[in-house]
Symmetry: C2
Subunit: 216 residues, 2 copies
């Protein structure tokens, strides 16, 4: 693949942005290097420590990873307090903040449960999990109880694979057929901003049928 | 944890929603069972088949999974065409659709590359990866080239862990310090809707400092 090293001044003049000495691909894309640039969900992970103190930490290197059984994966550094908690209790919860809890979600990622009682500091309420040995947050609209079923080492991080044992949601979040209304915070790691959910843009397993039909 | 089986008629009257016979927890949450209810990012995965035909498939059971080295994980069923492609080529790309490509992103998840040439059907352009043996999409604003470094079996799905070798983005997406402007589609699996990104809600590693300062 051919590259074109762009004249910095000419490029800056054209885009009004600072990308000095960056390579521009033939297809007009800029190569940004081997870095994480993608946006990610903001999940707050609940766990108990050895003494039974509830802790919450914020994680964004997370995702759903299986439909059957329903599983999620969360990647944590060994240095986190939550790492030891999950190793010990074999359980965690995933708590989804609404846009009313940006401050608390950020706080849970700023300090360690080793040093402070984050629940007490935020005034939020840990509820003992019904299915697993981990606490969920009363005030957040959605909570997922997970049983640890596997760990995978990936560089600096350990992925905890948790099987979903139950999803709990505020009544106001639950729609027809037990669907959930949109609820999520997003993390832009490159600008360090949180975002909410935007407009509905189309129906899944439906919008693309136009292309199938055109082909016929 | 105590449960309260709610009178269906009373509850339906109160919320105008159908949650017949569902249990309501003491903390006012509804238990929805062991199911995937969370929203997920929409990533389009690029790969080459044995014959060198470019293919794209849509995946939502995905996420970032390590900072160092930078890695992503995507979970696919063995039945997908992409599964065999990645096993063979040890590489894939992650392509992030803008809201202009909802139709195409949905289409890529509706049909199999075993049966059709999805690139030809959509008129989108595969570009040969620069760092790995997989194609990315010229028209989508962000592409990530990934080298397969591990696979993990989780129930029905196989997680492919890919090390990020490069991120490529349209010039118009790149801000100061090579940050990326917000770009993502979200998938609500319970209502089968796609959503865009909403408003900026706060600064990460900053919004929560208010709680730290209050404590002092």
């Amino acid at each position: 693949m051919g590259l074109l090293l762009v004249n910095t001044i000419g490029f800056a003049a054209e885009t009004n942005q600072v990308n000095e000495g960056k390579e521009i691909m033939k297809d007009n894309k800029i190569s940004l290097g081997a870095e994480i640039k993608l946006m990610a969900p903001v999940w707050v992970i609940g766990s108990y420590d050895k003494a039974g103190k509830a802790n919450m930490m914020t994680a964004a290197w997370v995702g759903i990873c299986c439909s059957k059984p329903p599983c999620v994966s969360i990647a944590l550094r060994k240095a986190t307090y939550t790492y030891g908690n999950i190793m010990e209790r074999k359980a965690f919860t995933v708590n989804i903040p609404s846009k009313n809890y940006v401050k608390e979600a950020d706080y849970f990622g700023l300090v360690s449960g080793r040093d402070v009682d984050k629940l007490s500091a935020t005034g939020l309420t840990p509820v003992k999990g019904e299915k697993v040995d981990a606490p969920y947050l009363k005030e957040f609209p959605v909570a997922v109880e997970c049983k640890l079923i596997n760990t995978v080492e990936v560089g600096l991080h350990t992925m905890f694979i948790g099987e979903i044992m139950d999803v709990k949601a505020d009544k106001s979040m639950v729609g027809e057929n037990n669907s959930l209304l949109p609820c999520m915070l997003l993390f832009n790691s490159t600008t360090r901003d949180y975002y909410g959910i935007g407009e509905q843009l189309g129906k899944a397993f439906s919008a693309g049928r136009e292309i199938i039909n055109k082909k016929k």
